[in-house]
Chain length 380, copies 2
Amino acid sequence: MAGPFSFRLTATDGAARSGEMTTAHGIVHTPAFMPVGTQAAIKGVHHADVQASGAEILLGNTYHLMLRPSAERVAALGGLHEFMRWPYPILTDSGGFQVMSLAPLRKVTEQGVVFRSHLDGALVELTPERAIEVQILLGSDIAMQLDECVRLPAEGSEIERAMKLSLRWAERCKRAFEAAPPDRALFGIVQGGDDPKLRAQSARELTDIGFPGYAIGGLAVGETQEVMLGVVDETAAALPKERPRYLMGVGTPADILEAVGRGIDMFDCVLPTRNGRHGLAFTRFGPINIKNAHHADDKRPLDAESRCPAACDFSRAYLHHLFRSGEALGGTLLSIINLFYYQDLLVGARAAIGAGRFADYIGETKEQWTARRDLRASET
Amino acid sequence: MAGPFSFRLTATDGAARSGEMTTAHGIVHTPAFMPVGTQAAIKGVHHADVQASGAEILLGNTYHLMLRPSAERVAALGGLHEFMRWPYPILTDSGGFQVMSLAPLRKVTEQGVVFRSHLDGALVELTPERAIEVQILLGSDIAMQLDECVRLPAEGSEIERAMKLSLRWAERCKRAFEAAPPDRALFGIVQGGDDPKLRAQSARELTDIGFPGYAIGGLAVGETQEVMLGVVDETAAALPKERPRYLMGVGTPADILEAVGRGIDMFDCVLPTRNGRHGLAFTRFGPINIKNAHHADDKRPLDAESRCPAACDFSRAYLHHLFRSGEALGGTLLSIINLFYYQDLLVGARAAIGAGRFADYIGETKEQWTARRDLRASET
């Protein structure tokens, strides 16, 4: 099942694709959703439940892990797979995005970025070479180049500067990655904000450098869904067909379906667990806020036909009670329910692509969300 | 497996006993430890893990459940077993202990206790009859009489007054419990503080009233272990041999072993989960504070030979990292590890009693705690 990194398409349906990505730690079926294990743990959820949800690959955050417990310590403990006891594929980001969003006093230069740790204020330098070194130490199956991500809206000149810097960093990352074991892969990241020309230039020049996979970064950072999907549409089309395409940090179930329809193969997002902790369940019947008072006497499970034990076993009344009572188990159960839902959404997408009916799948899925069958059922 | 409430001894070894308690929801092997599901949930731990630990019976807190979501609501939702999806035996306390420790503005009279809800300040009355009504609504297999628990040290006259009031409440509870389905059991509670004569009187008069099981209440409320064990020793001996004996709210692994050696059959305590959330693991090698810095690079699991997956799979370094990083999964994993440890401690106790070597079992277990083999192993 495992082997050197490779990717092959198994079906296409319009721009949508399904495929198989082989890594040293196993095969990932695409389009794939990667739960986010920020600090070597999926927040509040046991690995066994993450695996049961069907997740074939996790994301780890380089920024967090390099600061605590440190990449060197993780390496000494056998690497991230061994450290967190997740023997399946892992992708790590480069740390760049978190530096931009979390660290105070950052300074970006040609060389890299210098920032203060949000933990102890220590001055830390993250260069393209160090970002790769850290990811090699962590031992992830897929590493990401260091890039500079600009929050939108932004001036065109600022977007262009960051995009071009990211291209130069891409080259340095690729050189640094020559030190990595041969079964690992490094992905480049397309930048260029909401400017189609800059995105096209970034995609073209990244492809010239040459990577086994390409990410679209710098989206889901403040722009509308329409702008995001427009960029995804054009950028995906500009990337090599035979390489996996990863849309970073996206998104809602609707975002994901629309992006799959535009040729995206991989996703990561904290929404399933973050919203789960806050009482929001993603279901086939649309999002359900379990904290709402009308669930207090509702014996029905969230989804009696779900593959997820927590979704088909516990009543809405019980889940509501857990949130009202401040029991952490409520957030854990909803996180698990959401992780299952995201996986099932993509299982359905892969099947629909294989059957050449992905457009119908989007339509049917969205109709079920908005039909609010759960409310009708409780009203009859 | 299930049936009307009954109890039979399967072996004795000195004062220690092993037995089988049959309830409508299954058999409980004694001596037994009951994890505490305060608000219809074991804090931070999924029911599946509680069951995997070997727990055969849970404790639910009447005080919490009557205030939220309310006994009437739980009953309308099918009872506590159905509500929380725990199809195995459940014992509920009477609510009296939490009224004394949590509720402001309480007033104890002959009739019962009036208090303000700690949730919304509402005035609530808990009488012996209401305590039984609530527990019948919850549907627990074993209900407890309402009693008044005095915090130690206390004046002898105060202890005596509360003990005698508890006896009168015991009679009222027994009468009220005649409304319960016939497969359920009501336990009386011995009070009397640290006064052997009052304890003896309480045990004698309770036995005259007649219950299918007896608890020793009002301990682990500020007295030393020596005082507690002295009371347990004399009180257990004064209770009918053929009925289960339950020591409420106790305790540490050492407390439990000593109490089993004095003829106790049932225990409940929040320590496994509370200490787990705070980073303290109970292990065969004694308690381990996983937050201590020296665990940061320790690849060894907490106990490679444990039956608990979390104890034998994850490294101490990883568990340490989870606590240092504020990941709730750390508290969950240590809670699970501790729940397994408590169950295994009692599995061992039952086997030792059956083999007539319980005194040796206590000695060997304590020796292993203090030998600190884990430290020796890391030093070699």
